[in-house]
């Protein structure tokens, strides 16, 4: 449900036959040129590499002009992507990625801006930017690496750590409730909301590509595997087991029953919300034109 009260919240439904882009994964030899380094600092079993590859696959599949692609990254494990990708990248301060990306987009609306953030970056220290970017419906793609914990600093609880979960700052169980980031994005006004998992690679590429192709604020939640911290404390330290868990927990959005709440062990994946609403940068340009016309009399 949308939390916007303005009449602008009324969205046009998308074309009834809308489908997420289907992209055939590219060969490794086609992916590698878009990576600056064969080495990362990500832990063995981390799925950030999978999500990074899916992003490259989506960009290649959409045949975007690489010179027009800008990746803005925040802080945390996912933030390292700014150092690994062979596109123009900006590494922002913790939580500020969406605000920096907003500046990039308004300065040059022709750029295709993807904002890579972790769950903590996106919904804790940067939570305010997340809801306001969604409310504005600015044409950015937020790609959220959600591993349910702060990985880079060593496994502290984040706003997506579920109640009862263990972390280094909730050793005996988290007392707080977790955000459902996709629902949060939808409520705040995002016009494209989708979720994928590191387990289902093709679907992950597809939801990322759908988000990039969408004109408006797109929130793409990539469920990441963190066997080293989140898994070891709560599920399993075995990366393969962790991914198998994702397979079991993820339910296609079409089969996810209306009104069903998202549980720890069950969440919808695929396209979760899609609509059309006035986009921020376009609206800014329109208002300026109208104002100038009025002044000309």
């Amino acid at each position: 449900m949308s939390a916007l009260i303005d009449e602008q919240r009324i969205e046009s439904p998308p074309e009834s036959d809308y489908k997420l882009p289907r992209i055939n994964p590219h060969k490794t030899s086609e992916i590698v040129p878009w990576l600056r380094t064969p080495k990362t600092i990500w832990c063995p079993g981390c799925s950030n590499g999978t999500i990074t590859r899916a992003l490259i696959d989506a960009i290649l599949g959409l045949e975007l002009d690489a010179e027009k692609v800008v990746i803005v990254a925040g802080i945390g494990c996912s933030g390292r992507i700014a150092q690994y990708l062979e596109y123009s990248t900006v590494h922002a301060a913790h939580g500020r990625a969406l605000a920096v990306a907003t500046g990039v987009k308004v300065a040059d609306p022709s750029l295709r801006v993807v904002v890579a953030m972790g769950d903590g970056d996106c919904s804790a220290i940067g939570g305010n930017h997340f809801i306001h970017a969604a409310r504005r419906n600015i044409d950015l793609t937020a790609l959220i690496f959600n591993n349910s914990i702060y990985g880079m600093t060593g496994g502290q609880m984040s706003p997506t750590t579920h109640t009862g979960d263990k972390s280094t700052t909730s050793v005996h169980g988290n007392v707080e409730a977790a955000f459902d980031l996709s629902e949060l994005a939808h409520a705040a006004g995002a016009t494209f909301v989708a979720r994928g998992t590191a387990w289902a690679y093709r679907q992950l590429v597809s939801v990322i590509a759908g988000g990039i192709a969408h004109k408006g604020f797109a929130a793409v939640e990539a469920m990441a595997a963190c066997p080293v911290y989140y898994g070891r404390f709560n599920l399993t330290a075995d990366p393969a087991e962790f991914l198998k868990g994702q397979k079991e927990h993820a339910v296609p959005a079409s089969k996810f029953e209306e009104g069903e709440s998202r549980l720890h062990e069950q969440y919808p994946v695929g396209l979760l919300h899609h609509g059309e609403r006035a986009e921020f940068v376009t609206s800014l340009a329109r208002v300026r034109e109208e104002a100038q016309e009025a002044l000309r009399g």
Partner: protein, 398 residues
């Protein structure tokens, strides 16, 4: 009891012994293990406190401001950009005269990103009205943390205990953990001079006008300028309070004696190297080498940076021909902040300028650049003959 632990654990144990009631923090390297330890101690029931894992550093200090206003002994810790993100609340805590204690595991600030040690984070908070103490080893971290609470509560001014990220925060050192009973003797329970109390309502930190005026009871009240002057006056007086608290600590625990500046072989020194934090103790080794070569050189560690102990600094340098100030931070566009402060102190306290030493500012260890003892020795050896290569940034490779 002596234990071997990290600097972060030393700080955490100090916080535990101090009987802190509210902890609010956000993860940031290299501070994180400190607050993880506190979270663990609180959950295990070893500390009777509430831990709030907030959504950002800005919120962390805001929670401490609320908790301290309600009369709770409050603590937070951070590093680098976390401290910068707090900045608005850092000023606020001092202006509101709340005795919050914060540990800063010193780290370089972005951009570009860097997670290693220098002092730019806390030096850039110099003008906020907080007391700043720089610890040089793990014993000082735990002792300074305990002293910080008594200092903050005596002066109603928040205190920052700064220690070098990684070099101290993550390394293991033996140190003595004070006994709880003795700590209670040293640090009585927190009785706030004012705390939120529904039976005696008050409005805290409301708008004050440029000119003084009567309050709601019709009495003349301080305006903003008077309130800020009192902060300045109390900070200046705090130099003496730091000495008094150190003396009280020394009486109970037998450690201390140099709470403002810590001179090492300065008595007959013709040249003195000045620094802060762990670098100070590294410099002890360097001057031992130079002493064996016949140079009369000493080290002055500045332990209290704000309020600046100008008289103590000038007194320690009286008689020196030359002073080298070695800093891990800069007031960009001029020179190291400590260097400027020190020159200002000399100007005020050595009336005969012909007897004032020359002062040479040096920069080292920015962004964690390794400070090699051999480089320090070479630099100072050159300095003694007036030929330090420009720009005086030790280890820079342009």
């Amino acid at each position: 009891m002596h234990i071997i632990e990290t600097g972060n654990v030393a700080a955490a144990l100090g916080v535990k012994l101090a009987g802190v009631q509210v902890v609010a923090a956000y993860p940031i390297t290299p501070q994180t293990p400190l607050t993880e330890k506190l979270s663990e101690l609180i959950e295990a029931g070893e500390m009777d406190a509430r831990y709030v894992p907030v959504e950002s550093e800005h919120s962390a200090l805001a929670v401490c401001i609320g908790a301290s206003s309600a009369g709770a002994r409050s603590f937070t810790a951070t590093s680098a950009n976390g401290l910068l993100y707090m900045h608005e609340q850092v000023h606020w805590a001092a202006g509101a005269r709340l005795p919050i204690v914060m540990c800063v595991a010193n780290r370089a600030v972005g951009a570009p990103w860097n997670i290693w040690n220098d002092h730019q984070d806390s030096i850039s908070q110099r003008d906020t009205g907080w007391i700043q103490i720089y610890s040089c080893d793990h014993q000082q971290i735990i002792d300074d943390t305990l002293k910080a609470f008594r200092l903050a509560e005596t002066t109603s001014i928040p205190v920052m205990v700064c220690y070098d990220g990684y070099l101290l925060s993550h390394t293991y050192m033996p140190f003595e953990v004070p006994e709880q009973e003795k700590v209670e003797q040293f640090l009585p329970p927190f009785h706030p001079s004012y705390a939120l109390d529904p039976s005696s309502p008050a409005n805290l930190n409301t708008v004050t006008l440029p000119e003084i005026r009567t309050d709601v009871h019709g009495e003349m009240a301080h305006g903003y300028m008077e309130i800020r002057y009192l902060l300045q006056e109390d900070l200046r007086k705090a130099v003496q309070v730091v000495e008094e608290i150190d003396a009280a600590f020394q009486e109970i625990f037998g450690r201390g004696g140099a709470p403002l500046v810590e001179p090492y072989r300065c008595d007959d020194a013709e040249y003195v190297v000045v620094g802060m934090g762990s670098l100070t103790y590294q410099l002890w080794d360097v001057i031992e080498t130079l002493r064996t070569e016949g140079h009369k050189i000493g080290v002055l560690g500045v332990r209290l940076y704000r309020p600046f102990p100008d008289a103590a600094v000038a007194a320690a340098l009286r008689g020196a021909r030359g002073v080298f100030v070695m800093e891990k931070a800069l007031s960009y566009g001029y020179e190291g902040a400590l260097c400027s402060d020190l020159k200002s102190a000399l100007y005020d306290h050595i009336p005969d300028k012909s007897r004032a030493p020359f002062v040479k500012g040096l920069v080292a260890g920015i962004g964690g650049r390794e400070i090699r003892t051999a480089d320090l020795t070479d630099t100072l050896r050159s300095g003694l003959v007036g030929s330090i290569p420009e720009p005086g940034w030790i280890g820079i490779q342009l």
